[in-house]
Subunit: 438 residues, 2 copies
Amino acid sequence: MKDPNKPGGAPLKVAVAGLGTVGAGVLKVLAGNRDEIAARAGRPIVVTAVSARNRDKDRGVSLDGIAWFDDPVAMAKDADADVVVELIGGANGSAKAMVEAALDAGRGVVTANKALLAHHGSALSARAEAAGAPLAFEAAVAGGIPIVKGLKEGLAANRVERVVGILNGTCNYILTTMRETGRDFADVLADAQALGYAEADPSFDVDGVDAAHKLSILTSLAFGTRVDFANVHVEGIRHVSALDIAYADELGYRIKLLGIARRTPRGIEQRVHPCMVPKTSAIASVEGVYNAVIVEGDAVGQVAFRGRGAGEGPTASAVVADLIDVASGRAVAPPFGIAAAAQQPLTPAPMAEHVGSYYVRLSVVDKPGVFAAIATALGAEDVSMESVLQHGRAPHGPVAVVLTIHETTEGAFMRALDRIVRVDGVLDQPRAIRIEAV
Amino acid sequence: MKDPNKPGGAPLKVAVAGLGTVGAGVLKVLAGNRDEIAARAGRPIVVTAVSARNRDKDRGVSLDGIAWFDDPVAMAKDADADVVVELIGGANGSAKAMVEAALDAGRGVVTANKALLAHHGSALSARAEAAGAPLAFEAAVAGGIPIVKGLKEGLAANRVERVVGILNGTCNYILTTMRETGRDFADVLADAQALGYAEADPSFDVDGVDAAHKLSILTSLAFGTRVDFANVHVEGIRHVSALDIAYADELGYRIKLLGIARRTPRGIEQRVHPCMVPKTSAIASVEGVYNAVIVEGDAVGQVAFRGRGAGEGPTASAVVADLIDVASGRAVAPPFGIAAAAQQPLTPAPMAEHVGSYYVRLSVVDKPGVFAAIATALGAEDVSMESVLQHGRAPHGPVAVVLTIHETTEGAFMRALDRIVRVDGVLDQPRAIRIEAV
């Protein structure tokens, strides 16, 4: 007699490429929660093959009885597996080759690779659909937060207006620590590197590239457009100073690196840059290595998701959730929610036409007439000030003047800044940070 | 040639029972976002039949070409429909009869009915599985927040340890307004009724029953146990006073009505009651009619979801998401994530063995010896104070004394309260509120 506690379906056989922290985590979760996972998947999920660089490294998980492949592409083609998990990383190279090989062989693919999807998402989606094979990537965006499923399925009834996310834990950790300690970027980055929260080459994280990869995936899911990483406006956090963080606090804001995708009359905005958000907003309270994504839909209003954005457990949670979807037969839809052939090309809204408010910090000589000239420069572009902040005086020396600017276009604001730079008595380059209403 | 923008699958035909706010909202969303929904569902979703009490009422949506049924059960049996949407409400009566009729006819069911699922969830799940028909109920818990999908699919890799939710918008609105205005419960409830935020008979909401219905569904999804509403410990918010809210604020807490399901060595706790939560916690900032659910899993850590818990748009968003799941073939798994036959009976952890911290407010005569007697009463049960708060003095008159109690068992705490009530100089019944670490 069949025991209902031991689902009797044929096991789902899984081949895992990449046995770093996340790969080992996937094996640990599959082993540790085996019974719960089998009950939810309707059948056992078993790892039949793995591929990694170093065969001898101790990863804290048993590889007994699991076939070893030196070449992940060979594994994708030849392993005794229904699904291949790609945890190699990188937009091209063996990650792309093995995903394509698996799909072409009609095998499902589960991947955490945001760079791959940002660059080749729509093409791989078409390939998966042609092969009738699932392609799932919950782990590619915001770690353990089920936001891919949330957008693609949970909020599928909605016309989405905006998606706002804290998508990079390294940047959020650095900005949080800068605010808490008053220390500057370079200093905090060095500590984060020592603690393992930032890579030796931090560029992908701190220059906003990783967040932009993830945003381009969310944009496609939200708006039904082709994945279009090339049209993401990207700025990182290297220029955020302790001074700006202190002024933000005084003005009632926190500085966060946000990824924002928004439907506008001029097209779809995709932008990653430091933002000031009201201290009282829910997203302002997302600190440290946490990620969060807010979705605004016409029916549902605002829905927010928050959780750990990276690390062994959260990422493994997302990878294994995808495997359970494949095992249970739920991973049937097109990978990006709508058929690749039905995805529209994204019409990018030009950044010059972005409408928003701004923070700007100037260094000026404290002498009569300078402020009047700045005000005239703003007025010449129809840009109006909301508030001015200046602490203390330094007759004839440099002082910091902080302005907040009422809603205007980015083009007008930038032209006004160009005029301000040329004002006699304005020193250095102004520092501007966009203010986002969330 | 097939136009990829117009998915060519046969339409999913839907019959809707109940055309109140939510029913009309479902029709509006299906009509307003028709193209997006068809693209995501892989085929059009069309309403072919409706049933409601009053045929002539203007609901702001066109019913042209849609068959009308006076009897929802007859509609469930006879309509030209693949799926029936049940928006009638109530644990029994025609809601239950029509859901059973639809499932027995092999038709899918989408419902927003938490009372029905709280009382008959596991039986209906077994019935749906036997019929091979989907039964989906995203709208039954936390309105537009995709928490049913989140628990059942998105976090399926995890062994869940705890679920904490603000599950009733009416209570959260009342508690938020009480805090903001300093007014008392009865007063704010009357206003909420006038504004339509609370029912004429508010009992289901303010006595915690509605939250308990929802919690019992979440518990089953989280722990793989049978839905067991009878074993939810339920207390409402009628006894929360403006005074307690003010003291909570002083102590660094907010008062929320929480639904909590927790795995303990003694079984599973299911409880709905007012809680003090730290002001700085994310859940404390969930105000007004918003709902939130926090899930703690072994791999993912803490994941939080937040959004509108009720109303036309959010609830319609959830109902239509379920319809899209059915249309796209994703609604394949057992309704509660694991097969009804594999669900374990829930072993309830006795409330007397609940371990937690407590707030307690006493009214005492301000005379020597009373406080020593209270301290002795606590000590006799091995219960220890964390803090004491008393403002001002009223020699020989009644004063409020507020204690917070270190973690102890509910049994010991209740025995200590019994001793305190008998202390000479303690007036009235003490008011106790559990403190929850979130």
